[in-house]
Symmetry: D2
Subunit: 342 residues, 4 copies
């Protein structure tokens, strides 16, 4: 009953198999190998357009380097008040951008309202001594386990692009959003106005496979040098490419995400049944935010369940919002045992 | 006949096996897992002291983050004029230190002379508007394929430490130096005055396993946050630890280094025999720098040999210094074929 | 009727006289001149302790360099939500600290409540991925024209110091606070727990005289090099010192502040009389924040009054908070004419 | 007999008079005042083109902010090995550019040879891991007291511009070069390929008047925000403008430079006469570099002469190169007394 985080999971068997399969012979270093080329082509197929793909070691790096490449002095990054980029990355975006401010926007269930972007743009115009908006960053799926529709993404980016902002998507759980929506990767990104995507595969079945997928290279000058200078250009790049090979083969990545989303849905359903507890936000990806009493929390933990307390937003005195994350490895048995304990 | 670089090699079988072996179940993220703990203990055994160990994605990151943690405004990094840190890392050290200068010191066959450190210390004293020495970085084995003896390391660090400098070793090819010298890891590092080591395992048989090994944590405040903020804290840290597990098991790492060093020695011997060509510097690790004529270079390449031209230092008009790197995968047959072609 | 800002004023006559008086002969550059020494001693007398004094070109530089010298990776600056440092300095603090976040604290009439500091300290503890509090910055007088008592300063800094934070005071209008309180400079700063003060004299009668006054040098290592590296070490430092000479002579600086505060008080009284309008916050320094109707604003501007609209906080539909700043040059006639127009 | 530096001098009388003259009434802050406008227009007249002018507190700031505005990751600044920007500014350029390397070029008597630029461009091409040239910085007059002709400037910038470099001139002693050459400001800058000039007036008779004069604004995006964020935007900008008003009035600035250059020429002539000593480099501005014996140095200092020892380049055992700087205040009497003592 481990619902701590999807990054507690290991690597899926097809991903490990691909690692082993591609470990032979020598290959040019620093991403000039044929496998990295082939996987870049695979990304182009998946996104139905001519993207460039830059692997990084972590999602934090992908987010922060994307911001670095579009940084300007006195620039602002518009992001949700719960954005991982803002709340959970040790000030990485501020560091890599040499001090851009992150302007936290009000959200509903983790999603930025289009009005919030418009208001920020109206308030901080060129010449503002507070700063001037330079980039918009959305998380898909959000940190609250909800998902933006392609139309919602497009609405947010439209206002931003009119004002010259670069539009970034933190896709640490991109696959989970994708299978929930039944949309194509293209519809959810460049067709909806996204310039660059942090494409996360680590949480969903790789051990270390993250990439910046760039749809609009002009908006991110020098991105490749930013990455190299940051120490994020792997010499043996083919081993990241290998993981992606296993990840994409036969739509394995979508199966993994469906499995995790399914476990989360089963969990949410179980929690809601018979008034056991309530969920704080709609469950649209692989995360469930449940409002539990301290007694419930203590009991579950006593029986070995693992999860994090998240916040006290909208809680009664003896309640807490807990975060329950399902991974591709989460089993129906684990879920059912957890629900039964409630 | 691929002598391009040791980072063109794959991962050794025991390293891959360890990756597979440790891929089961869930484990805490961000380095809090038991395997990372166990490997940290292994480092302590190997270095015979209480070290802290921080994995990074690349050697560039390990070098630059080490410098970041001891940075001061107006500080200087003393390093050899051929240091990878200075010449081949896209300005990473300057970036991470917010603009410390690297002061290139004159070298002999890649090794900094003790006098060069003393002269720099005498010239740039506290108050210097050029800058003030803050750190010394040595590469072991050097970028010229030579090795510092423990005594030579100690002599360099002694003057530096008297002046309050932090002493760093870039150990991208640490194992190669170790087996050449027959010294212990402790003798070559903290016993010789090193505060922090970039411990490289990627070139020598892992696919992505680098670590900062810290002997003197007080000299590098906030190193862990520097790493996290840079996006170099792996969520699934156990997979780096797994590689080290296979790497260290049964002194596998030393065997790999011995194999590569042996191939380089065989190559150097073959090149020197019968006056085929001369080597530019003593061959003490896994790199051979050979002075070849353009005709020789053309012929070798025509037959499929791969290597980089390095410099024209000490060359006649039609000569070039080429770099030939042996990896753990280099075979005697490859070496002999190359020599025969000369 | 110019109430735009106190930095629209010129230099007072005694300050200009001092500039002229000290312009003779040659003097060592970069602050090693006897006049800079003498003025440093004057600061020590005024603050009744052994301070170091570093001139800078602007208050923005004094604030940001103070933060730079106590920066740490992943650090947070606690400051009021209206702090000049946060809202009006082009991201200077974030730039100079290489990306520390500013955490805006809730305020009442511009003053941070002690609880806000305590809450931030409780929420963001060592290890927080959002960041860890590293410094507290108070503005005295505040951006809302109010003043902290020495006891209030001490209460705020006490909690901060227990947690190892460096305590900074932005004293762009320090003199105005001082004469309002009738406190000594010492009581308002180091005796109340302040480590470093941005001492502003430009707004109050100099043309360019700002200084970092350091009470606790250990908390700000390398501050002098931070300043020099930022290009804020004047070669002809004696001309800043000269301004301070005229500024301090015969308590001229306190007279200037009393004059400005008096004009503001007269303005506030006039505005309040007969229900002409209301002031948003108590007037304790040289700034009046008045809630005016659009009709009043239009009329005043039509008659040549100059001032900025500030916010719409607590306003009815047709109201606006305007900021009216008195300088040492503001006359009773200007004030009365403005009031009469209301 | 004070030949320490021209920044030991005070302000000239016309400059002080202008400061006093313009100190009346209120004026918009942050450079929006009419006098700043008027002086900007004066710069346009002097440079015969449409420049933008940004005042800074120091020449170090003007140099470093110019570099900041054209910085790119992994960029190199080409500058002479004796450049003030490199040797005497506390790492300011590296700091403001977030870690660009300065590549020191070989010089003859302080002047970069055109070949040195060409060689650097050939060696460090796009993709170089050492870095890629992004800017060229020349000092005029050089740190060795010599002067580039307009043709020499044009030759250096031509190669740089072909390769997309931004061309900067450090004009701390621009006026001294100008009067030596009898060229126009336009001929010496934009007509010779310069994009941005650090225009120094402090050393030559102001107390604090430095400006970035921008000929090619597209090459320096966001320069104004770089300056503001660095704390180099004076609130009472008109007082810098006032100094320039006095400085430019009736070609006062050229008179000041002529006076200083004349004193230096007289000094050089006296030193050379009768074999008293030799000068190290041609004296073309207001600096004399003389090769003196230790005995001469001791005697001169014993009699109260002030100057700095510079280097031991080209010296016999008991010799030293000393730097003797004449300012606008240096008198013939001082010079003659110094010569007589030799």
């Amino acid at each position: 009953m481990n619902f701590s985080s999807d990054n507690w999971a290991g690597a899926s068997q097809p991903v490990m198999d691909a690692l082993t399969r591609h470990n032979h012979g020598s290959a040019p270093a620093y991403g000039a190998d044929p496998l990295t080329d082939r996987i870049t082509q695979r990304f182009r197929d998946i996104f139905e357009t001519d993207v460039s793909v830059l692997f990084t070691a972590t999602g934090t790096a992908a987010n922060a380097l994307s911001m670095a490449a579009c940084a300007r002095p006195g620039g602002l990054v518009l992001a949700s008040e719960t954005a991982h980029l803002h709340c959970d990355e040790w000030g990485s975006a501020e560091f890599y951008t040499h001090g851009m401010k992150i302007l936290p926007l009000a959200t509903t269930a983790g999603r930025i309202a289009p009005d919030a972007v418009a208001e920020a743009l109206a308030k901080y115009r060129e010449g503002s001594r507070f700063g001037v908006p330079a980039a918009l960053s959305l998380t898909q799926a959000t940190e609250c386990g909800t998902v933006y529709s392609p139309g919602e993404v497009a609405a947010l980016t439209a206002r931003a692009r009119e004002n010259g902002l670069v539009c970034h998507m933190d896709g640490a759980r991109f696959a989970n959003a994708l299978v929930h929506l039944g949309a194509t990767p293209a519809e959810l990104t460049w067709k909806a106005g996204i310039d660059v995507l942090s494409f996360g595969a680590t949480k969903n079945g790789c051990w270390c496979a993250e990439a910046m997928v760039v749809f609009n290279p002009q908006s991110l000058p020098h991105l490749a040098i930013h990455r190299a200078r940051a120490g994020h250009l792997f010499s043996k790049s083919r081993f990241v490419a290998a993981q992606f090979d296993g990840y994409f083969e036969g739509d394995h990545w979508l199966d993994l995400a469906r499995s995790a989303n399914g476990a989360a849905a089963r969990l949410a359903e179980g929690i809601g049944q018979g008034g056991r507890a309530r969920v704080a936000w709609p469950v649209q990806a692989n995360e469930v935010f449940a409002v539990l009493t301290q007694a419930q929390i203590a009991k579950l933990r006593g029986e070995g369940a693992k999860f994090y307390e998240w916040s006290r937003e909208g809680c009664e005195d003896d309640e807490h919002v807990v975060r329950l994350v399902a991974s591709f490895e989460t089993t129906a048995e684990e879920v059912d045992r957890f629900v039964a304990l409630l």
